[in-house]
Symmetry: C2
DNA sequence: TATTGTATACTTGTATTCAAGTAAATGTAC
DNA sequence: GTACATTTACTTGAATACAAGTATACAATA
Protein backbone atom coordinates (compact mmCIF):
# COMPACT_ATOMS: atom_id res chain seq x y z
CA UNK A 1 0.00 0.00 0.00
CA UNK A 2 2.87 2.34 0.79
CA UNK A 3 6.18 1.53 -0.81
CA UNK A 4 8.32 4.62 -0.64
CA UNK A 5 6.27 7.16 1.27
CA UNK A 6 9.53 8.21 2.92
CA UNK A 7 11.29 10.60 0.55
CA UNK A 8 9.90 13.13 -1.93
CA UNK A 9 7.90 10.68 -4.00
CA UNK A 10 6.73 12.10 -7.29
CA UNK A 11 3.30 10.85 -8.28
CA UNK A 12 4.60 7.49 -9.48
CA UNK A 13 2.15 4.63 -9.37
CA UNK A 14 2.82 1.72 -7.06
CA UNK A 15 3.59 -0.43 -10.08
CA UNK A 16 6.24 1.98 -11.29
CA UNK A 17 7.81 2.13 -7.84
CA UNK A 18 7.81 -1.65 -7.60
CA UNK A 19 9.45 -1.85 -11.02
CA UNK A 20 12.31 0.39 -10.01
CA UNK A 21 12.89 -1.35 -6.70
CA UNK A 22 12.85 -4.87 -8.10
CA UNK A 23 14.99 -3.91 -11.08
CA UNK A 24 17.56 -2.29 -8.83
CA UNK A 25 17.68 -5.42 -6.69
CA UNK A 26 18.26 -7.58 -9.75
CA UNK A 27 21.04 -5.38 -11.16
CA UNK A 28 22.78 -5.16 -7.78
CA UNK A 29 22.72 -8.96 -7.59
CA UNK A 30 20.76 -8.95 -4.36
CA UNK A 31 18.36 -11.15 -6.28
CA UNK A 32 20.61 -13.90 -7.62
CA UNK A 33 20.52 -14.95 -11.28
CA UNK A 34 18.53 -18.17 -11.47
CA UNK A 35 16.83 -17.55 -8.15
CA UNK A 36 13.18 -18.54 -8.04
CA UNK A 37 10.84 -15.79 -6.94
CA UNK A 38 7.10 -15.40 -6.60
CA UNK A 39 4.72 -12.50 -7.04
CA UNK A 40 3.45 -13.03 -3.51
CA UNK A 41 6.98 -12.61 -2.12
CA UNK A 42 7.28 -9.20 -3.69
CA UNK A 43 3.76 -8.38 -2.55
CA UNK A 44 4.50 -8.94 1.13
CA UNK A 45 8.02 -7.53 0.77
CA UNK A 46 6.69 -4.27 -0.69
CA UNK A 47 3.54 -4.32 1.42
CA UNK A 48 1.21 -4.02 -1.53
CA UNK A 49 -1.17 -6.22 -3.48
CA UNK A 50 -0.25 -8.48 -6.37
CA UNK A 51 -1.59 -6.04 -8.96
CA UNK A 52 1.20 -3.45 -8.90
CA UNK A 53 3.77 -6.22 -8.48
CA UNK A 54 2.36 -7.88 -11.57
CA UNK A 55 2.72 -4.66 -13.53
CA UNK A 56 6.37 -4.42 -12.50
CA UNK A 57 7.05 -8.07 -13.20
CA UNK A 58 5.53 -7.92 -16.67
CA UNK A 59 7.78 -4.98 -17.58
CA UNK A 60 10.83 -6.81 -16.25
CA UNK A 61 9.74 -9.85 -18.24
CA UNK A 62 9.57 -7.82 -21.45
CA UNK A 63 13.02 -6.48 -20.60
CA UNK A 64 14.14 -10.11 -20.23
CA UNK A 65 15.39 -9.63 -16.71
CA UNK A 66 12.80 -12.09 -15.39
CA UNK A 67 11.74 -15.44 -16.84
CA UNK A 68 8.11 -16.37 -16.25
CA UNK A 69 7.18 -20.03 -15.91
CA UNK A 70 3.41 -20.08 -16.30
CA UNK A 71 1.60 -21.38 -13.24
CA UNK A 72 4.92 -22.31 -11.67
CA UNK A 73 6.76 -19.16 -10.68
CA UNK A 74 9.44 -16.89 -11.97
CA UNK A 75 13.20 -16.96 -12.14
CA UNK A 76 15.62 -14.07 -12.10
CA UNK A 77 17.15 -14.29 -15.57
CA UNK A 78 20.52 -15.97 -15.81
CA UNK A 79 23.26 -13.92 -17.43
CA UNK A 80 23.45 -14.90 -21.08
CA UNK A 81 26.75 -14.39 -22.85
CA UNK A 82 24.87 -14.06 -26.11
CA UNK A 83 22.56 -11.41 -24.68
CA UNK A 84 25.52 -9.55 -23.20
CA UNK A 85 27.26 -9.48 -26.56
CA UNK A 86 24.06 -8.39 -28.32
CA UNK A 87 23.39 -5.53 -25.93
CA UNK A 88 27.05 -4.56 -25.91
CA UNK A 89 26.96 -4.21 -29.69
CA UNK A 90 23.81 -2.10 -29.60
CA UNK A 91 25.22 0.09 -26.88
CA UNK A 92 28.52 0.58 -28.69
CA UNK A 93 26.76 1.50 -31.93
CA UNK A 94 24.64 4.11 -30.21
CA UNK A 95 27.32 5.62 -28.00
CA UNK A 96 29.75 5.84 -30.92
CA UNK A 97 27.14 7.56 -33.06
CA UNK A 98 26.42 9.92 -30.21
CA UNK A 99 30.06 10.78 -29.58
CA UNK A 100 30.53 11.51 -33.27
CA UNK A 101 27.67 13.94 -33.17
CA UNK A 102 29.10 15.61 -30.09
CA UNK A 103 32.60 15.92 -31.54
CA UNK A 104 31.20 17.46 -34.71
CA UNK A 105 29.15 19.97 -32.76
CA UNK A 106 31.79 20.67 -30.12
CA UNK A 107 32.54 24.38 -29.83
CA UNK A 108 34.60 25.12 -26.69
CA UNK A 109 33.39 28.71 -26.66
CA UNK A 110 29.75 27.74 -26.35
CA UNK A 111 28.30 27.86 -22.88
CA UNK A 112 26.62 24.50 -23.40
CA UNK A 113 29.90 22.70 -23.89
CA UNK A 114 31.65 24.57 -21.13
CA UNK A 115 29.00 23.33 -18.74
CA UNK A 116 29.30 19.81 -20.08
CA UNK A 117 33.07 19.91 -19.69
CA UNK A 118 32.78 21.12 -16.13
CA UNK A 119 30.25 18.44 -15.27
CA UNK A 120 32.40 15.72 -16.79
CA UNK A 121 35.60 16.77 -15.01
CA UNK A 122 33.68 17.05 -11.77
CA UNK A 123 32.34 13.54 -12.30
CA UNK A 124 35.84 12.28 -13.08
CA UNK A 125 36.99 13.70 -9.76
CA UNK A 126 34.33 11.79 -7.83
CA UNK A 127 35.19 8.65 -9.76
CA UNK A 128 38.72 8.91 -8.38
CA UNK A 129 37.45 9.48 -4.88
CA UNK A 130 35.10 6.52 -5.08
CA UNK A 131 37.94 4.25 -6.14
CA UNK A 132 39.58 4.71 -2.75
CA UNK A 133 36.92 2.86 -0.74
CA UNK A 134 36.65 0.28 -3.52
CA UNK A 135 32.86 0.08 -3.64
CA UNK A 136 31.98 -1.47 -7.00
CA UNK A 137 28.35 -0.36 -6.89
CA UNK A 138 29.31 3.23 -6.22
CA UNK A 139 31.84 3.22 -9.02
CA UNK A 140 29.32 1.79 -11.44
CA UNK A 141 26.93 4.59 -10.54
CA UNK A 142 29.58 7.21 -11.20
CA UNK A 143 30.49 5.48 -14.46
CA UNK A 144 26.87 5.44 -15.51
CA UNK A 145 26.55 9.13 -14.66
CA UNK A 146 29.59 9.94 -16.82
CA UNK A 147 28.23 8.18 -19.86
CA UNK A 148 24.78 9.60 -19.27
CA UNK A 149 26.18 13.13 -19.17
CA UNK A 150 27.85 12.60 -22.51
CA UNK A 151 24.81 11.04 -24.13
CA UNK A 152 22.45 13.68 -22.82
CA UNK A 153 24.45 16.29 -24.68
CA UNK A 154 22.98 15.32 -28.03
CA UNK A 155 19.46 15.82 -26.71
CA UNK A 156 18.07 12.45 -27.75
CA UNK A 157 16.07 11.09 -24.84
CA UNK A 158 15.11 7.95 -26.74
CA UNK A 159 18.75 7.06 -27.29
CA UNK A 160 19.56 7.63 -23.63
CA UNK A 161 16.68 5.39 -22.62
CA UNK A 162 17.63 2.59 -25.03
CA UNK A 163 21.24 2.65 -23.86
CA UNK A 164 20.21 2.50 -20.22
CA UNK A 165 18.00 -0.47 -21.05
CA UNK A 166 20.95 -2.21 -22.69
CA UNK A 167 23.05 -1.40 -19.64
CA UNK A 168 20.67 -3.48 -17.57
CA UNK A 169 22.10 -6.58 -19.20
CA UNK A 170 25.72 -5.51 -18.83
CA UNK A 171 25.57 -4.23 -15.29
CA UNK A 172 25.69 -7.57 -13.51
CA UNK A 173 28.77 -8.68 -15.42
CA UNK A 174 30.46 -5.39 -14.71
CA UNK A 175 29.62 -5.69 -11.03
CA UNK A 176 31.07 -9.17 -10.77
CA UNK A 177 34.18 -8.39 -12.77
CA UNK A 178 34.87 -5.22 -10.80
CA UNK A 179 34.95 -7.04 -7.49
CA UNK A 180 37.03 -9.75 -9.13
CA UNK A 181 39.58 -7.62 -11.00
CA UNK A 182 39.48 -4.03 -9.79
CA UNK A 183 40.88 -2.26 -12.83
CA UNK A 184 38.90 0.87 -12.10
CA UNK A 185 41.97 3.05 -12.57
CA UNK A 186 42.17 1.94 -16.19
CA UNK A 187 38.53 2.78 -16.76
CA UNK A 188 38.90 6.24 -15.28
CA UNK A 189 42.00 6.75 -17.42
CA UNK A 190 39.97 5.91 -20.51
CA UNK A 191 37.32 8.38 -19.45
CA UNK A 192 39.99 11.03 -19.23
CA UNK A 193 41.39 10.15 -22.64
CA UNK A 194 37.91 10.29 -24.10
CA UNK A 195 37.46 13.76 -22.69
CA UNK A 196 40.81 14.83 -24.13
CA UNK A 197 39.89 13.52 -27.56
CA UNK A 198 36.65 15.42 -27.29
CA UNK A 199 38.41 18.68 -26.49
CA UNK A 200 40.81 18.32 -29.38
CA UNK A 201 37.86 17.36 -31.62
CA UNK A 202 39.67 14.19 -32.61
CA UNK A 203 36.81 12.13 -33.90
CA UNK A 204 38.70 8.96 -34.75
CA UNK A 205 40.53 8.89 -31.45
CA UNK A 206 37.32 9.45 -29.50
CA UNK A 207 35.48 6.64 -31.22
CA UNK A 208 38.36 4.18 -30.94
CA UNK A 209 38.81 4.89 -27.23
CA UNK A 210 35.10 4.55 -26.63
CA UNK A 211 34.87 1.32 -28.60
CA UNK A 212 37.72 -0.24 -26.69
CA UNK A 213 36.27 1.06 -23.45
CA UNK A 214 32.88 -0.52 -24.08
CA UNK A 215 34.37 -3.77 -25.36
CA UNK A 216 36.03 -4.69 -22.10
CA UNK A 217 32.95 -6.47 -20.85
CA UNK A 218 33.38 -9.05 -23.61
CA UNK A 219 36.74 -10.07 -22.17
CA UNK A 220 35.72 -9.79 -18.53
CA UNK A 221 32.77 -12.08 -18.95
CA UNK A 222 35.04 -15.04 -19.60
CA UNK A 223 36.80 -14.63 -16.27
CA UNK A 224 33.63 -14.06 -14.31
CA UNK A 225 31.88 -16.94 -16.02
CA UNK A 226 34.36 -19.41 -14.57
CA UNK A 227 34.15 -17.93 -11.13
CA UNK A 228 30.33 -17.89 -10.95
CA UNK A 229 29.25 -20.64 -13.36
CA UNK A 230 25.72 -21.00 -11.98
CA UNK A 231 24.93 -17.36 -12.67
CA UNK A 232 25.33 -17.98 -16.39
CA UNK A 233 23.62 -19.75 -19.24
CA UNK A 234 24.80 -20.72 -22.76
CA UNK B 1 -12.13 -14.42 -22.79
CA UNK B 2 -11.30 -15.68 -26.26
CA UNK B 3 -9.48 -13.29 -28.52
CA UNK B 4 -7.90 -15.28 -31.31
CA UNK B 5 -9.09 -18.84 -30.74
CA UNK B 6 -9.40 -19.02 -34.52
CA UNK B 7 -5.96 -19.72 -36.00
CA UNK B 8 -3.05 -21.72 -34.61
CA UNK B 9 -2.66 -19.65 -31.47
CA UNK B 10 0.61 -20.25 -29.69
CA UNK B 11 0.24 -20.16 -25.93
CA UNK B 12 0.27 -16.39 -25.74
CA UNK B 13 -1.50 -14.85 -22.79
CA UNK B 14 -4.56 -12.69 -23.36
CA UNK B 15 -2.53 -9.65 -22.39
CA UNK B 16 0.07 -10.38 -25.04
CA UNK B 17 -2.59 -10.91 -27.67
CA UNK B 18 -4.29 -7.67 -26.69
CA UNK B 19 -0.95 -5.86 -26.91
CA UNK B 20 -0.35 -7.00 -30.48
CA UNK B 21 -3.86 -6.22 -31.62
CA UNK B 22 -4.01 -2.75 -30.10
CA UNK B 23 -0.50 -1.87 -31.27
CA UNK B 24 -1.30 -2.94 -34.81
CA UNK B 25 -4.42 -0.79 -34.77
CA UNK B 26 -2.42 2.22 -33.62
CA UNK B 27 0.31 1.79 -36.24
CA UNK B 28 -2.23 1.29 -39.02
CA UNK B 29 -3.92 4.55 -37.95
CA UNK B 30 -7.22 2.82 -37.33
CA UNK B 31 -6.89 4.37 -33.90
CA UNK B 32 -6.29 8.04 -34.67
CA UNK B 33 -3.46 9.99 -33.03
CA UNK B 34 -4.99 12.09 -30.25
CA UNK B 35 -8.09 9.92 -30.07
CA UNK B 36 -9.38 9.34 -26.56
CA UNK B 37 -9.78 5.69 -25.63
CA UNK B 38 -10.78 3.80 -22.48
CA UNK B 39 -9.74 0.49 -21.03
CA UNK B 40 -13.36 -0.58 -20.96
CA UNK B 41 -13.67 0.01 -24.72
CA UNK B 42 -10.87 -2.41 -25.42
CA UNK B 43 -12.34 -4.81 -22.87
CA UNK B 44 -15.67 -5.11 -24.62
CA UNK B 45 -14.02 -4.90 -28.05
CA UNK B 46 -11.74 -7.85 -27.29
CA UNK B 47 -14.33 -9.61 -25.16
CA UNK B 48 -12.08 -9.89 -22.14
CA UNK B 49 -11.73 -8.29 -18.73
CA UNK B 50 -9.85 -5.12 -17.93
CA UNK B 51 -6.86 -7.01 -16.52
CA UNK B 52 -5.30 -8.25 -19.78
CA UNK B 53 -6.18 -4.96 -21.45
CA UNK B 54 -4.38 -3.17 -18.65
CA UNK B 55 -1.29 -5.28 -19.23
CA UNK B 56 -1.31 -4.38 -22.92
CA UNK B 57 -1.96 -0.73 -22.26
CA UNK B 58 0.88 -0.46 -19.75
CA UNK B 59 3.32 -1.90 -22.31
CA UNK B 60 2.08 0.52 -24.95
CA UNK B 61 2.42 3.34 -22.44
CA UNK B 62 6.05 2.43 -21.76
CA UNK B 63 6.56 2.37 -25.52
CA UNK B 64 5.06 5.87 -25.61
CA UNK B 65 2.36 4.92 -28.07
CA UNK B 66 -0.35 5.68 -25.51
CA UNK B 67 -0.60 8.59 -23.11
CA UNK B 68 -2.29 7.83 -19.82
CA UNK B 69 -4.21 10.59 -18.08
CA UNK B 70 -4.71 9.31 -14.54
CA UNK B 71 -8.36 8.91 -13.60
CA UNK B 72 -9.41 10.50 -16.87
CA UNK B 73 -8.65 8.16 -19.71
CA UNK B 74 -6.02 7.55 -22.32
CA UNK B 75 -5.07 9.14 -25.60
CA UNK B 76 -3.44 7.55 -28.61
CA UNK B 77 -0.10 9.34 -28.70
CA UNK B 78 0.18 12.19 -31.15
CA UNK B 79 3.05 11.94 -33.63
CA UNK B 80 5.93 13.95 -32.24
CA UNK B 81 8.44 15.33 -34.72
CA UNK B 82 11.06 15.24 -32.00
CA UNK B 83 10.33 11.60 -31.19
CA UNK B 84 10.39 10.73 -34.88
CA UNK B 85 13.81 12.32 -35.28
CA UNK B 86 15.11 10.62 -32.13
CA UNK B 87 13.97 7.18 -33.18
CA UNK B 88 15.15 7.76 -36.74
CA UNK B 89 18.62 8.52 -35.45
CA UNK B 90 18.70 5.41 -33.28
CA UNK B 91 17.45 3.27 -36.12
CA UNK B 92 19.97 4.68 -38.57
CA UNK B 93 22.84 4.13 -36.14
CA UNK B 94 21.88 0.52 -35.59
CA UNK B 95 21.09 -0.39 -39.18
CA UNK B 96 24.30 1.24 -40.41
CA UNK B 97 26.32 -0.68 -37.84
CA UNK B 98 24.57 -3.84 -38.86
CA UNK B 99 25.15 -3.34 -42.58
CA UNK B 100 28.84 -2.72 -41.91
CA UNK B 101 29.09 -6.00 -40.11
CA UNK B 102 27.32 -7.78 -42.94
CA UNK B 103 29.50 -6.24 -45.63
CA UNK B 104 32.63 -7.22 -43.72
CA UNK B 105 31.44 -10.78 -43.30
CA UNK B 106 29.95 -11.09 -46.77
CA UNK B 107 31.33 -14.11 -48.62
CA UNK B 108 29.27 -14.85 -51.76
CA UNK B 109 30.41 -18.46 -51.73
CA UNK B 110 28.93 -19.15 -48.31
CA UNK B 111 25.59 -20.84 -48.27
CA UNK B 112 24.33 -18.45 -45.61
CA UNK B 113 24.78 -15.43 -47.85
CA UNK B 114 23.45 -17.15 -50.93
CA UNK B 115 20.25 -17.84 -49.02
CA UNK B 116 20.10 -14.27 -47.81
CA UNK B 117 20.62 -12.95 -51.34
CA UNK B 118 17.88 -15.16 -52.68
CA UNK B 119 15.49 -14.10 -49.94
CA UNK B 120 16.24 -10.43 -50.55
CA UNK B 121 15.75 -10.60 -54.32
CA UNK B 122 12.56 -12.55 -53.80
CA UNK B 123 11.33 -9.88 -51.42
CA UNK B 124 12.29 -7.17 -53.91
CA UNK B 125 10.15 -8.91 -56.49
CA UNK B 126 7.10 -8.87 -54.23
CA UNK B 127 7.77 -5.21 -53.43
CA UNK B 128 7.41 -4.44 -57.13
CA UNK B 129 4.23 -6.47 -57.38
CA UNK B 130 2.73 -4.77 -54.36
CA UNK B 131 3.39 -1.37 -55.88
CA UNK B 132 0.91 -2.11 -58.65
CA UNK B 133 -2.18 -2.12 -56.44
CA UNK B 134 -0.81 0.83 -54.48
CA UNK B 135 -1.63 -0.46 -51.02
CA UNK B 136 0.57 1.52 -48.61
CA UNK B 137 0.11 -0.92 -45.72
CA UNK B 138 1.15 -3.86 -47.85
CA UNK B 139 4.20 -2.03 -49.15
CA UNK B 140 5.24 -1.08 -45.63
CA UNK B 141 5.04 -4.73 -44.62
CA UNK B 142 7.24 -5.77 -47.52
CA UNK B 143 9.65 -2.95 -46.70
CA UNK B 144 9.77 -4.05 -43.09
CA UNK B 145 10.43 -7.63 -44.17
CA UNK B 146 13.32 -6.50 -46.38
CA UNK B 147 15.05 -4.63 -43.58
CA UNK B 148 14.34 -7.40 -41.12
CA UNK B 149 15.95 -9.96 -43.41
CA UNK B 150 19.08 -7.86 -43.59
CA UNK B 151 19.23 -7.22 -39.86
CA UNK B 152 18.59 -10.84 -38.96
CA UNK B 153 21.72 -11.80 -40.87
CA UNK B 154 24.01 -10.56 -38.12
CA UNK B 155 22.26 -12.78 -35.58
CA UNK B 156 21.55 -10.07 -33.02
CA UNK B 157 17.96 -10.53 -31.84
CA UNK B 158 18.21 -7.61 -29.42
CA UNK B 159 19.13 -5.24 -32.22
CA UNK B 160 16.27 -6.47 -34.36
CA UNK B 161 13.87 -5.94 -31.51
CA UNK B 162 15.11 -2.43 -30.71
CA UNK B 163 14.88 -1.42 -34.35
CA UNK B 164 11.35 -2.74 -34.63
CA UNK B 165 10.42 -0.79 -31.53
CA UNK B 166 11.85 2.37 -33.10
CA UNK B 167 9.91 1.60 -36.26
CA UNK B 168 6.73 1.88 -34.24
CA UNK B 169 7.25 5.63 -34.07
CA UNK B 170 8.14 6.01 -37.75
CA UNK B 171 5.45 3.79 -39.20
CA UNK B 172 2.59 6.23 -38.96
CA UNK B 173 4.51 8.98 -40.72
CA UNK B 174 5.55 6.56 -43.43
CA UNK B 175 1.98 5.42 -43.87
CA UNK B 176 0.67 8.95 -44.26
CA UNK B 177 3.46 10.07 -46.56
CA UNK B 178 3.10 7.01 -48.78
CA UNK B 179 -0.55 7.68 -49.47
CA UNK B 180 0.29 11.34 -49.98
CA UNK B 181 3.35 11.04 -52.22
CA UNK B 182 3.69 7.53 -53.58
CA UNK B 183 7.43 7.42 -54.29
CA UNK B 184 7.58 3.71 -53.66
CA UNK B 185 9.53 3.16 -56.89
CA UNK B 186 12.36 5.25 -55.47
CA UNK B 187 12.40 3.24 -52.27
CA UNK B 188 12.53 -0.05 -54.14
CA UNK B 189 15.32 1.36 -56.30
CA UNK B 190 17.30 2.18 -53.15
CA UNK B 191 16.75 -1.32 -51.86
CA UNK B 192 18.20 -2.64 -55.09
CA UNK B 193 21.19 -0.32 -54.91
CA UNK B 194 21.80 -1.41 -51.34
CA UNK B 195 21.82 -5.01 -52.42
CA UNK B 196 24.27 -4.18 -55.24
CA UNK B 197 26.60 -2.42 -52.83
CA UNK B 198 26.39 -5.45 -50.58
CA UNK B 199 27.36 -7.81 -53.37
CA UNK B 200 30.33 -5.70 -54.38
CA UNK B 201 31.31 -5.40 -50.71
CA UNK B 202 31.31 -1.62 -51.07
CA UNK B 203 31.01 -0.58 -47.47
CA UNK B 204 30.93 3.17 -47.96
CA UNK B 205 28.35 2.99 -50.72
CA UNK B 206 26.15 0.67 -48.69
CA UNK B 207 26.16 2.89 -45.64
CA UNK B 208 25.57 6.08 -47.58
CA UNK B 209 22.65 4.56 -49.49
CA UNK B 210 21.16 3.22 -46.28
CA UNK B 211 21.59 6.52 -44.46
CA UNK B 212 19.89 8.44 -47.22
CA UNK B 213 17.18 5.81 -47.45
CA UNK B 214 16.39 6.03 -43.74
CA UNK B 215 16.56 9.81 -43.69
CA UNK B 216 13.65 10.29 -46.06
CA UNK B 217 11.17 10.29 -43.23
CA UNK B 218 12.68 13.50 -41.90
CA UNK B 219 11.72 15.28 -45.10
CA UNK B 220 8.39 13.59 -45.54
CA UNK B 221 7.18 14.54 -42.10
CA UNK B 222 7.10 18.21 -43.08
CA UNK B 223 4.67 17.57 -45.92
CA UNK B 224 2.47 15.25 -43.93
CA UNK B 225 2.46 17.57 -40.94
CA UNK B 226 0.73 20.28 -42.95
CA UNK B 227 -1.81 17.88 -44.38
CA UNK B 228 -2.78 16.31 -41.04
CA UNK B 229 -1.96 18.98 -38.47
CA UNK B 230 -4.11 17.51 -35.69
CA UNK B 231 -2.21 14.24 -35.78
CA UNK B 232 0.96 16.02 -34.67
CA UNK B 233 2.43 17.73 -31.67
CA UNK B 234 5.43 20.08 -31.28
C1' DT C 1 9.91 -52.78 -4.41
C1' DA C 2 8.21 -50.22 -8.20
C1' DT C 3 4.42 -47.91 -10.37
C1' DT C 4 0.48 -45.46 -10.84
C1' DG C 5 -3.50 -42.77 -9.59
C1' DT C 6 -5.05 -39.09 -6.67
C1' DA C 7 -5.41 -35.55 -3.35
C1' DT C 8 -3.30 -31.34 -2.11
C1' DA C 9 -0.90 -27.20 -1.89
C1' DC C 10 1.15 -24.30 -4.33
C1' DT C 11 1.69 -21.05 -8.62
C1' DT C 12 0.28 -17.56 -12.28
C1' DG C 13 -3.76 -15.97 -15.34
C1' DT C 14 -8.03 -13.66 -15.32
C1' DA C 15 -12.20 -11.55 -13.48
C1' DT C 16 -14.39 -8.67 -10.30
C1' DT C 17 -14.84 -5.42 -6.64
C1' DC C 18 -13.55 -1.39 -4.23
C1' DA C 19 -11.15 3.24 -3.72
C1' DA C 20 -10.12 7.67 -5.14
C1' DG C 21 -9.64 11.32 -8.40
C1' DT C 22 -11.60 14.22 -12.36
C1' DA C 23 -14.81 16.88 -14.98
C1' DA C 24 -19.09 18.08 -16.51
C1' DA C 25 -23.83 18.88 -15.23
C1' DT C 26 -26.83 20.76 -11.97
C1' DG C 27 -28.64 23.67 -8.59
C1' DT C 28 -28.52 27.92 -5.90
C1' DA C 29 -27.69 32.41 -4.26
C1' DC C 30 -26.92 36.97 -5.72
C1' DG D 1 -27.54 36.32 -16.22
C1' DT D 2 -23.42 35.01 -13.50
C1' DA D 3 -20.50 33.13 -10.15
C1' DC D 4 -19.95 29.38 -7.21
C1' DA D 5 -20.84 25.19 -4.51
C1' DT D 6 -22.47 20.46 -5.04
C1' DT D 7 -23.90 16.36 -7.01
C1' DT D 8 -23.21 12.83 -10.31
C1' DA D 9 -21.26 9.93 -13.66
C1' DC D 10 -17.41 8.53 -15.31
C1' DT D 11 -12.31 7.23 -15.33
C1' DT D 12 -8.00 4.74 -13.81
C1' DG D 13 -5.44 2.73 -9.58
C1' DA D 14 -5.36 -0.94 -6.38
C1' DA D 15 -7.14 -4.93 -3.82
C1' DT D 16 -9.38 -9.09 -3.73
C1' DA D 17 -11.64 -13.24 -5.47
C1' DC D 18 -11.80 -16.90 -8.60
C1' DA D 19 -10.05 -20.22 -12.37
C1' DA D 20 -6.87 -23.28 -14.08
C1' DG D 21 -2.38 -25.40 -14.56
C1' DT D 22 1.78 -27.68 -12.17
C1' DA D 23 4.49 -30.47 -9.07
C1' DT D 24 4.91 -32.92 -5.01
C1' DA D 25 3.46 -36.21 -1.39
C1' DC D 26 1.40 -40.24 -0.63
C1' DA D 27 -1.55 -44.14 -0.67
C1' DA D 28 -3.19 -48.06 -3.33
C1' DT D 29 -1.90 -51.70 -6.24
C1' DA D 30 0.76 -55.06 -8.89
Amino acid sequence: MVIGMLFGEGKKTLGEQAYEIIRENILALRLKPGQTVYESEFSTMLNTSRTPVREAVRALHIEQLIDVLPQRGMKIALISERKVEETRFVRESLEVSAICKIVDQWEPVQRKYQDLYRALTSNLQSQKEVIQNGDAVQFLQADEAFHRLLLSAIGNATLVSVVSQMRGHLNRVRLLSLQEIPYTEGLVREHEQLLEALQSKDRDRATSILSAHLSRVSEDIQVVKDKYPDYFTD
